[in-house]
Subunit: 343 residues, 2 copies
Amino acid sequence: MSKIVNVKFNVKHYKYDKPFHITGSISSETRNVEVEVTLESGAKGYGEAAPSFRVNGEKVEMITALEAFVRDLLVGLDVRQYRKIFEITDKLFAVPSLKAAIQYAILDALGEETNIHVYQLLGGALKEIETDKTVGIDTIENRVSEAKKIFDSGFRVIKIKVGENLKEDIEAMLEIYKVTKGAKYIVDANMGYTPKQAVEFARQVYKAGIDIAVYEQPVVWSNVEGLKFVRFHVHFPVAADESAKTKFDVMRLIREEAVDYVNIKLMKSGISDALSIVELARSANLRLMIGCMSESSVGINQSVHFALGTGAFDFHDLDSHLMLQEPEFRGKFIQSGAKMIGY
Amino acid sequence: MSKIVNVKFNVKHYKYDKPFHITGSISSETRNVEVEVTLESGAKGYGEAAPSFRVNGEKVEMITALEAFVRDLLVGLDVRQYRKIFEITDKLFAVPSLKAAIQYAILDALGEETNIHVYQLLGGALKEIETDKTVGIDTIENRVSEAKKIFDSGFRVIKIKVGENLKEDIEAMLEIYKVTKGAKYIVDANMGYTPKQAVEFARQVYKAGIDIAVYEQPVVWSNVEGLKFVRFHVHFPVAADESAKTKFDVMRLIREEAVDYVNIKLMKSGISDALSIVELARSANLRLMIGCMSESSVGINQSVHFALGTGAFDFHDLDSHLMLQEPEFRGKFIQSGAKMIGY
């Protein structure tokens, strides 16, 4: 009864509340692909791909073009053999957001079929997590007022995008600190700095008495030596995001001792590699955070269940759905302010 | 309904069909500890600890002494939070066979409660696996006749214990080969050789035209450099067994490039570290086999489900129950000759 009988793709269009500006990219809308898996029993599982050209080299057209191929790949397989399906879909490494959506839809269908929540299938480690919220790149004035708004609305972890203008970034950080004391900060340069700029930013911020909980991807993804340089020259924990897509990437980062943290995103790794990275981190004393691309509540749901199930993350940066205009909330969890609660 | 209401330990005594001789140890019996977990619903889960003093430093008395402590630790926890229970029981690292038994009993109870076989909870990658069978240390004549008997009864992978007498080991290997052509061989020295003796054994066997599929733990567990020396001086893949107990051990072996294979045993690692090691192997292109201590069919059942679920192993060395005198077979799988089949 748990054999897959159909797979459907569904393109969804979402607008951002306001343009979202990070190093090298301004988004005002996103097109995501929902994957619907139907079982013999009639049970359905849902996943969402939020493709990222910037990070993964993916375009939504590449994904939709694969609908018939994916249907042929999956129809007839049994979701109770999910590790086998993971192995088959690991071959979709050129479109990792699709791999993620399919792998999650399989778990979702298995959960529906067996009446177990996906976060319980994955281990049920936690009942709730708390997300940060993000301040995009903007004028200093706007960055400060956005940070204050986020803090005043109850978020206690604020993510700050930097990387396009070192001087303004330092100034913005110092000003944000003044109006959000007590918050924790994740600073994300999205590959925008040179290693020495990255060290300079951290040094100035440290001198001002500000602590940064995680300093994300200061330098370009391919510069692993640069990441290591920053790691060993700044006071704050350094994280790989764009440098850490697959389990093989993370194994290399571990071998080279390049980072303190990895930011897992299902859209980069799928469920299968994300599970590997969780175990790599546990074995190498690496810390983890979990992030997102431009997922709606359907896609964020995937990461919430993954995080609740594995309990592997110090920080949860799962706020994209809070920035998108959605007709209805479709997560299988409760969003209550910064909190995300399993039921 | 899936909360734990009771935990019971049960000591079981099993005799070997005949004394089982490996480097530094001859066993004629074993005392294992069964762990029975009862849920609110009445569902029960079973695990088995087969303690190994030689490998883990454990004695059965240490384990039984912990019954009340473990009951207090577990009662009230929900098996749907199995990752949380894994984390709690990871603290039992001084008695890893008990950790394994508890962690498996949790999964077994969850499976009973939800009507999902444990191997499906773990991913359902395979429907069947095939075990090897082992030739212990003995006179050359007896080793050869035992190997022939194993081969003639349908096993196609033969494990050969060596490590106490280099000259006799080489002679036995050459003679066994003559009567079992077509078989694959796993050779296990159980730490008995020096690095140079290990190379000598492999060189002589190679010169005789014999292929060894896996060359297990040629040198003492603490000699990681020695393992690496053997790895880079012999033609055959070298495996760590006694050197690879925890995920941290395996991470070190990977960093040092010391081995081609790891032999996972639940009795050394529990379910939690075994899951980590599976993902480490996938990320570092390490190969895996799965082995056992002196488990009865209750304990072997754990490894069969783990192997079927993850699909992670090239070789399955799960034959201890075939060497023990058991009143009844209690595995939740079908044993058919060398085959072990999930249902």
